[in-house]
């Protein structure tokens, strides 16, 4: 058990967590909704990529793109059909969350009805089983793909939000949809776009985790959803950089607690930590203080 090897594991796991949490936190930051259907959308991504690889024989890169597109469209539709009417009505923040639970149940069981509950796998050789050796540490091509792709997507998102006109508009909407609308920003359009982008990030995370654990099953999104919640709390809710740091932090905590404490306590360490963080620093480890007094 080499520490360096564990670090590579932690990095790739943490990247997937971060990627998943990024979409989750994006929706919370901009729409103000805890989107509990994010896990279902994540699962849809994995199934789409699997179908694309196994039936259409697309190369993995294309399959990932197709999966991101499919998940994105699902997120867009969820927003259009479910979240938008609730926004129009100005429903209290709990209500959209409950609605997304219904969406998640429907998607999960729809997929289970079509593909069955069993565990599906990507065909052998989807990714060449090659590993590289750097300074005594083995890195598989899968881990490299995960790390590279996650960082690329996160960098693209951050660059968009920081540097472009679109990103400026998004930040304005996150600050106050009402004020943004007065400034002539197409707020509804940005909400829909956010839902699309968040879901496609979730879909990408779904493909990556299903390659990593070599398992695609209808309820795969649920444990991920719990972790996503943990990550965005650790990172500060609605905070994009926080989601990245929180994801990596959770990945490292899990891998290192497996290595040093034992695999059975993995989730206890992660959630115990989360509970403590909330009590001591409700704004998250990396979040800014965001007090809102009546």
């Amino acid at each position: 058990m080499m520490l360096e090897q564990q670090i590579i594991n932690a990095l790739s796991l943490g990247c997937v967590y971060a990627l998943f949490a990024l979409g989750f936190t994006l929706v919370f930051g901009i729409l103000g909704v805890i989107n509990l259907s994010h896990g279902a959308v994540f699962m849809l991504g994995a199934y789409t990529a699997l179908q694309a690889v196994a039936i259409l024989h697309l190369p993995l890169w294309t399959a990932i793109l197709v999966a991101m597109l499919a998940s994105g469209v699902a997120g867009f539709l969820i927003d259009l059909v479910v979240l938008r009417p609730l926004r129009r009505r100005d429903a209290p923040h709990l209500i959209p969350m409950i609605a997304t639970i219904g969406v998640a149940i429907a998607i999960n069981s729809g997929v289970q009805g079509i593909f069955g509950a069993e565990n599906l796998r990507f065909p052998l050789g989807t990714l060449p089983n090659v590993s590289f050796q750097f300074a005594g540490v083995y890195v598989t091509i899968l881990e490299l793909t995960i790390i590279f792709l996650s960082f690329a997507l996160m960098a693209a998102l951050m660059a968009t939000i920081r540097g472009t006109q679109l990103g400026r508009a998004l930040r304005a909407v996150a600050e106050s949809p009402k004020a943004a609308r007065l400034l002539g920003i197409n707020v509804e359009g940005l909400f829909l776009l956010t839902s699309f982008a968040a879901a496609s990030l979730g879909g990408a995370a779904g493909v990556l985790i299903s390659l990593y654990s070599n398992a695609v099953f209808p309820l795969m999104g649920q444990p991920m959803l719990h972790k996503g919640i943990a990550v965005i709390i650790l990172g500060g809710m609605g905070d994009i950089r926080g989601a990245l740091l929180g994801g990596l932090f959770l990945g490292f905590t899990e891998v290192l607690s497996v290595a040093f404490i034992g695999s059975s306590m993995r989730d206890a360490v992660a959630f115990g930590l989360l509970f403590l963080v909330l009590l001591v620093r409700p704004q998250g480890l990396f979040g800014k203080v965001l007090e809102r007094k009546a």
Binding site: I98, G102, I105, A106, G113, D267, F275, L278, K293
Partner: protein
């Protein structure tokens, strides 16, 4: 009578779970009515279930004593974690309580010598009678109704509407919040005890995140404007999968779609006293509430 015996043989578990689910929905209703979205109810249910099952199995205690144990331990735990946790509000409180629930679940999972770990506890004597469930639910509804009209209930409502204003009026916010949290924990504990002595088996995963979300869903689905709302909501959501059984693999799909539709079309849940009054009065005016 034989028809009834036949029906009871098949559906008694379903009928009794209507009662336990109603208790769970009420347990989250109490905290919601005090303006807190606390989602530790599944965990409290689990603590109650495990406490009572361990008492019954290991010490062969009478059911009444197991019931008392199954209420007291969740109450104590709620009291202990309540102080620091209830400082949080809104989404943060929801997340902290969910995280607490996960901690409880994983702890149960990992204390194998005591709780049986992932295998759960098997062979819990079936001591729950139908009248235990009916009685517990009736008492819960009556007590909550009394509480709602008392000083405590008014304080809850004031805190829910505006915490700062309530504090200015001299309401002990922390105290009342803690009280609501503990009452919720006790109700969830009772549901846990009854459920454990009904189903013969309990396992850690029954009390996880999904159960917590389910409990919340039942309450919101029914409507949290009154005590009847959560009861109606839990009843419908418990029966729905049975009613949709003919749809086989796709029944949960419809379950989900129905949930979404109700949230979209009936903002105040199924049981909305104002709307029902309007319907009963045959009044064509739409409610403005």
């Amino acid at each position: 009578m034989s028809d009834f015996t036949h029906f009871w043989a098949i559906y008694s578990n379903l009928v009794l779970s209507l009662g336990t689910n109603a208790l769970l929905a009420l347990s989250i209703y109490v905290t919601l009515s005090c303006g807190m979205l606390a989602m530790a109810n599944a965990a409290f249910m689990g603590i109650g279930a495990y406490t009572s099952a361990l008492l019954t199995i290991n010490y062969e205690t009478p059911f009444a004593l197991s019931l008392v144990g199954g209420c007291t331990v969740p109450a104590i735990v709620a009291f202990l974690i309540g102080r620091p946790t209830l400082r949080l509000s809104g989404v943060y409180l929801a997340m902290a309580t969910l995280a607490f629930g996960e901690v409880v679940r994983v702890l149960i999972l990992n204390t194998e010598s005591l709780t049986g770990g992932a295998l759960g506890l098997n062979g819990i004597p079936q001591m729950t009678e139908w009248w235990h469930v009916a009685g517990a639910l009736t008492v819960a509804v009556l007590v909550l109704q009394r509480v709602q009209r008392s000083k405590i209930g008014r304080a809850f409502e004031a805190i829910k509407e505006d915490e700062v204003a309530a504090a200015l009026m001299g309401i002990n916010i922390e105290g009342y919040k803690l009280l609501a949290f503990v009452i919720g924990a006790v109700l969830a504990g009772v549901a846990g005890v009854l459920n454990a002595h009904l189903t013969f088996f309990i396992g850690p995963n029954e009390f996880g995140f999904d159960r917590g979300v389910e409990i919340l869903t039942m309450a919101i689905f029914g409507g949290i404007g009154s005590i009847m709302g959560p009861v109606v909501g839990s009843t419908i959501l418990t029966l729905l999968p049975e009613v949709l059984r003919g749809l086989d693999n796709f029944r949960l799909l419809f379950n989900g779609l129905i949930l979404v539709s109700v949230v979209l079309l009936l903002p105040k849940g199924i049981w909305d006293p104002a709307r029902i009054r309007v319907l009963l009065a045959g009044n064509k005016r739409t409610t403005t509430a």
